[in-house]
Subunit: 340 residues, 4 copies
């Protein structure tokens, strides 16, 4: 049984684990004030070609989203998100727990457009509505789709004109970097804050929060402490990001994930199956007849996403740095044999 | 320079790291639903001789305290804590952030007594006061002191009589187990919930939340998800606790920390120095004249705690599983030489 | 210019004001512990034929909704509401501010059905979703529609089977009582808590929160105090509800509002205009061509609700205890003249 | 039995009630957008000689304190308050419910000094402490004491130097205005926001929130809406403050309260009794032997405040606009007869 369930099944890239072993008995300062965190942030700033951002390492993605929104917004300010946004449907009400309403917009492909921002603003003009203040997008999105540089430029220009903050959830930014025209250098110019996800691209835990806008930087470490997001042994995060960003490992791992997915996507498409939407990244949502799916599930784990008409079902398949490319070829071969 | 600053300077016990390496490429279910978390919980329940508790693995201590109090209390219910309690002075207002007031009582030694609980109740009888509902204690305490079995029995009996929940912060429970008459078997009988700290006793991160009282168990995983306390790669926590509790490693590591501290404590006392309070665990608070302290700080890192009279200062010293026993002997020898 | 904008334009029924004048210099206990609050609650319990409920008087409706939901729910529990629910669109994120997510369902007429509850439950089964726990309905609804006794019985039976609390926002319960088969005696049998709105039916401020389910009663006054909902001069609320419920004034005022609206509704319908939905209460949503509406607005204030096709607009019109019946007849006569 | 329990026993000054009667059937806009609220604010701004403040009318004092602090602070910012501050001991954890910690300082007389602000700052320098950001004081204080102009000038200068906001709870500002060298013109120059209490000085409910600092003004009405502090019939508040501030009624009522208290205070002092502290306003805290107190309580209601040594007790006595001056003389005469 091979799992294409998600990109967090295996633990960490061996080089990351080795770095942990190598630095094990160093006596480091706690709470992220160690040399490894400092060095990891320096590597990342270099790759962003931007010295002025603040970088903080945080254990998990839900925590990072929650923290950012809680720290950045005042009580009556609300978040605009796609209906498929991770904060809306997959974080158990974490944003509302911090006191903020999410104003959702339906989308075709998980990507927000300016028309949708306009709609959200128009629907919340009255004093008895919370004020839309922060736009939350994910890249890659929850549907595996990716923003182009032009799209992001337009979104951010609109946000700045309308006094909206733009925050990008980068849980799967690795995969996006490996399949879009956006590089790490672009992000600090195109949003107010974002995070670069380690958990789904080589680390065993850890997300790098990057704060661009000066007004959002104050006391962020206090926010982290308050929300339990400051690890005593912060070096454990520093060492991982140091390893991922010293050279080019982070991007290489994402490229591997995408390459694996290219095999799956192309194979599935060539066998005539359709997809929920076009996604160039490490997540796809193919649609299989139920009888074919049953056979798939005898050998592979995939995630049921939604039932479709004509006795078929859309499933989610995900690859990662750890995916065995052979298993992708095997899947395609098997699928061919299941396809009458 | 050798650090006695805290018990989270080094990363993890080698056996713990090795287990991580050994299980690295296993494809596991996410979010703590893997076999390692299950097995770790089973080992711990066995050591507690109690099958009916719920055990959840959580990245950090502040997160665990916050989560417990947020999940267990209703909006107008308050927490009773010693003034020195970690939640009061070291978590940046995390409990208040969840909406709950902390009612603090001054103590001699960081331990709450029944008289203090009585006082907190008496001062909050009126409707315009929040209702004291949860008693927070730490064992060991923030001052290194330890509750005896008799003390804990009396506290819990009082709590049950007065409709109070008893929650024990066990960030340093390892050290307490290694120097008190309380065993892991006692805890499920003597409180409603507690946690067993991994971060400060062999793990690189992770605390094991143990919920005893049935009414507190419902939806705890949803609370974890909501507060970002559910790691995608939950197995990373499971593997560590599996290693610590399969045999006796957890207790052995704590014993090593205490043994190291015995050397420091005895040596310092024999040289005629006094302490802020008597603490049998891996934390001590000796008082040194400033000139002696200056010399100490040329070779050792210790934490300034508070200035005392007569040009002396109380400092905190901490040992851990990773402390080099030789360095403890060195410290005592050096101190002897600094002492006119 | 005569206003049909809402049912809170005038201050209070003269009998209510007179009672305030009559009791002005009485020295009363504060915070709702006075004799007038006690007597008002007694009158209401008598009319409900139910001695076991708890009744609390609260200044406003948003405050009452917020308080109920904050007091009744635990952090990861969510509210099911119609998309048109007052808490969703008109209270500036008040529920989210208390930490709870609202799960909205689209409706035809502002009324929730069992099918919608089933849908909300089905969509939130996973651990990463908040648990639906409280069903919020309004009667009359925000669209002026009204639940029948049979509908409410079925809803509540479903709620009890599925461990859901049923809470009824009765900001306009007066009008509902005056045009449905539900009497005050029915409510304590058909939900867990509800409120009876004074502000929109004779009082100048005040809502009577009625808690039926015992588990929800504990410390409610502390919740009120904490959320600033306990007036120092609570007697001001008691005196008003005493006056409204001593005899039959509350129902008589609602009947007057409904009678006024019957004139408007029938007149508008007979002139051939349609409505957004059928509403038997003191709120209607007629649709007028823009040119007719312009003429209306020269003499009457109505609320723009939404633009419709064919250059027409849906507006909201509301009557109250204070509406001048002659003005309703005038409106119909004027409308007749505006209609080609 | 005559009550000196508090200053909210009677309802409202007859002129205030009459204004309510006179404007009863006016059709006004809701939510504080009516002409009476506008006019009341204009009168107040005139008396403050300051056109640039924002004024909002809010039903109650706890609500006003909560709202201000929730609106003004970010999550990790804390409040400095005297231990006797109303928000600390009398509002059921309302501030913590909004997520903010209160850092309390013990005081002699309920008044904060610069030394105490310095202490609070010094104790919270570390990242694991919330940042002190808002100083909460009351004038008159909860002990009836009053800040002088010089004291307030020094406090505010210190606050501005240290990036602290100064907020003044004016629940009893009327009495302070009538017995200190601070006039309404001074307040906008000496703090960032304050409120002027109506409930305890002639109104039956209502506090006027005055926001001076521009950065604190944004979206305050949304905050009010979100926290249920925006009355549908806002005019009820406007009409009252219009009456109190059109001419000089507000100050006259406070002067009456103080005059009544002068009789009580002088009489009690001349009979040889001592006080908890010197208070020039409408609240005093005299200390009586228990046997004398028993006799007092046969004819007068006073509030037990705290037991003192030698079988004596400190009680609180309060006068208001409604106090009968004759009853004050009666009290003194009676006390004389009770005094051996």
């Amino acid at each position: 049984m091979y799992s294409f369930l998600n990109d967090y099944s295996e633990t960490a890239h061996p080089a990351v684990l080795q770095a942990l072993v190598d630095t094990n008995m160093e006596q480091c300062l706690g709470y992220g004030e160690d040399e490894h965190c400092r060095q990891a942030a320096a590597y990342m700033k270099e790759k962003m070609d931007c010295a002025k951002v603040d970088i903080h390492f945080i254990p998990g993605g839900t925590q990072t989203n929650t923290l950012a929104i809680a720290a950045f917004l005042r009580p009556t300010q609300a978040v605009i998100s796609a209906e498929t946004g991770h904060i809306q449907g997959h974080e158990c009400g974490s944003i509302e727990e911090t006191g903020h309403k999410i104003l959702t917009e339906p989308t075709e492909d998980g990507k927000l457009t300016i028309a949708q921002l306009e709609h959200a603003i128009k629907m919340n003009l009255e004093e008895y509505c919370p004020r839309p203040k922060l736009v939350y997008i994910s890249n890659t999105t929850e549907l595996g789709t990716v923003y182009s540089k032009k799209e992001l430029e337009e979104l951010y220009a609109y946000c700045k004109e309308h006094d909206l903050l733009l925050f990008i959830d980068g849980a799967r930014m690795g995969s996006a970097l490996a399949c879009s025209d956006l590089t790490l250098k672009d992000y600090p110019k195109l949003c107010d804050a974002f995070y670069v996800g380690g958990t789904k691209n080589g680390a065993f835990l850890g997300e790098a929060m990057v704060i661009v806008k000066d007004e959002l930087k104050e006391d962020f470490r206090r926010h982290m402490k308050q929300r339990g997001a400051m690890l005593a042994k912060g070096k454990v995060l520093g060492v991982q990001f140091e390893t991922l960003f010293r050279d080019n490992l982070f991007l290489e791992l994402a490229q591997h994930a995408n390459t694996c997915m290219d095999v799956l996507r192309d194979g599935i498409r060539q066998l005539g199956y359709s997809f929920l939407c076009d996604s160039p990244s490490n997540q796809i949502f193919p649609i299989f007849p139920m009888d074919v799916l049953e056979k798939i599930k005898e050998k592979y784990m995939v995630l049921d996403y939604m039932d479709m008409e004509n006795c078929s079902r859309c499933v989610r398949m995900v690859t990662s740095w750890a995916t065995d490319l052979n298993q992708c070829h095997n899947f395609v071969a098997d699928l061919k044999s299941f396809t009458k």
